[in-house]
C-alpha cells in the first residue's frame, strides 16, 4: 500500500504517464481513497495546465526583426 508521501513523490511522473501500469493503478487507488492526496493531485494537474498554457501564448516577433537578423548574418 502506497503512503501519501510515496504518492506525492511520484506525482510528477504520474502526470507524465511515465510509470509502470502496476504503480499507476496503485496511485489511482490511493487517490480514490485519500481525499488529501486527491486534492493535491488535482492542484498539481491544474499547475501543469497553467504552465502549458504559457507556452501556447508566446507573443510573436515581428518579421522586421527577423529580416534584421537575416541581414546581419550576411554582413562582415
Amino acid at each position: 500500500m502506497l503512503s501519501c508521501r510515496d504518492v506525492a513523490n511520484q506525482c510528477s511522473d504520474y502526470l507524465n504517464k511515465d510509470l509502470p501500469l502496476r504503480t499507476r493503478l496503485a496511485i489511482r487507488l490511493h487517490l480514490w481513497m485519500c481525499m488529501g492526496c486527491n486534492r493535491y493531485y488535482d492542484q498539481m494537474r491544474s499547475t501543469l495546465r497553467m504552465l502549458r498554457k504559457l507556452g501556447r501564448e508566446e507573443t510573436k516577433v515581428s518579421a522586421d526583426r527577423a529580416r534584421e537578423i537575416f541581414r546581419s548574418s550576411r554582413n562582415s
Binding site: 502526470l15 498539481m44 499547475t47 497553467m50 504552465l51 507556452g55 510573436k60 548574418s73
Partner: protein, 199 residues
C-alpha cells in the same frame, strides 16, 4: 536516431540558400520560445535577445549544422543552451544540474509513517477560472521566476515548451535522473507558490 525531413528542415535549407522569407518563417515559429528559454539562463532581456540572435546568425552562417540526429526544435534549443551557458559563465553564474535524489521530503507535510498530516486547503478558484484568469497567469510567472535556475530551466523546457524527457536531457546534457528530479521539484514548488496565493 535519424528523423525524417520536417517542414522546418526545408525552411532551413531554403534560408541557408539565401531565402529571407523562409528565415522569417523560422523566426516566427521559434524566436519567442528560444527567447523565453535564454532568459532562464541570462536574466537581462537584452542579453537574452543577443544570445538568440547570435544563435540564429550561427545557424545562417553554417557554424551550426543540423545533422538530423534530433528534432529540429531540440537542435535549436541546444544551440541556445550552449551559448546562453557560455554567457552565464562570463557573468560568473553557473547552473548546477547535478542533484541528489535522496527521496526525502522536507515539506513537513507528512507523519513519520508518510501519511499526510492534513489535506491541502482548497483553492478559491475553479480549474476553469484558474486557466483563464490574468491574475493566476501572473502568479505562475512569478512562481517560475522564484525557482532555482536549474529547476526553472527544466520546467520551462518540459512544461512550457513541451519537449519530452529525452529532448531535455539532450538539450542540457544532463542525465535522465537529474531531469526527473528537477522537474518534480520545480513543479512541486510552483504548486506550493500558487497554493499560498489561492488558498
Amino acid at each position: 536516431m535519424t528523423t525524417s525531413t520536417s517542414p522546418e528542415d526545408l525552411l532551413l535549407d531554403r534560408a541557408l540558400a539565401g531565402d529571407e522569407s523562409a528565415f522569417v518563417e523560422l523566426v516566427d515559429l521559434y524566436h519567442a520560445p528560444l527567447l523565453r528559454f535564454a532568459r532562464t539562463f541570462v536574466r537581462q532581456p537584452a542579453q537574452a535577445e543577443d544570445v538568440v540572435q547570435d544563435a540564429w546568425v550561427g545557424v545562417l552562417r553554417g557554424l551550426e549544422r543540423f545533422e538530423r540526429r534530433s528534432s529540429f526544435k531540440t537542435w535549436l534549443f541546444r544551440i541556445v543552451a550552449n551559448r546562453a551557458r557560455t554567457r552565464a559563465v562570463r557573468e560568473q553564474r553557473y547552473v548546477q544540474f547535478e542533484v541528489n535524489d535522496d527521496g526525502s521530503d522536507a515539506s513537513g507535510n507528512f507523519t513519520p509513517e508518510g501519511k499526510l498530516k492534513a489535506p491541502p486547503r482548497e483553492w478559491q478558484m475553479t480549474p476553469e477560472r484558474l486557466l483563464l484568469s490574468v491574475e493566476t497567469r501572473a502568479l505562475v510567472d512569478k512562481a517560475l521566476e522564484q525557482l532555482p535556475d536549474n529547476q526553472r530551466i527544466v520546467v520551462t523546457l518540459r512544461d512550457i515548451e513541451g519537449l519530452d524527457a529525452a529532448d531535455v536531457c539532450n538539450v542540457l546534457g544532463i542525465t535522465e535522473t537529474n531531469q526527473r528530479v528537477l522537474l518534480h521539484r520545480g513543479r512541486t514548488r510552483v504548486r506550493a507558490a500558487l497554493a499560498s496565493a489561492l488558498e
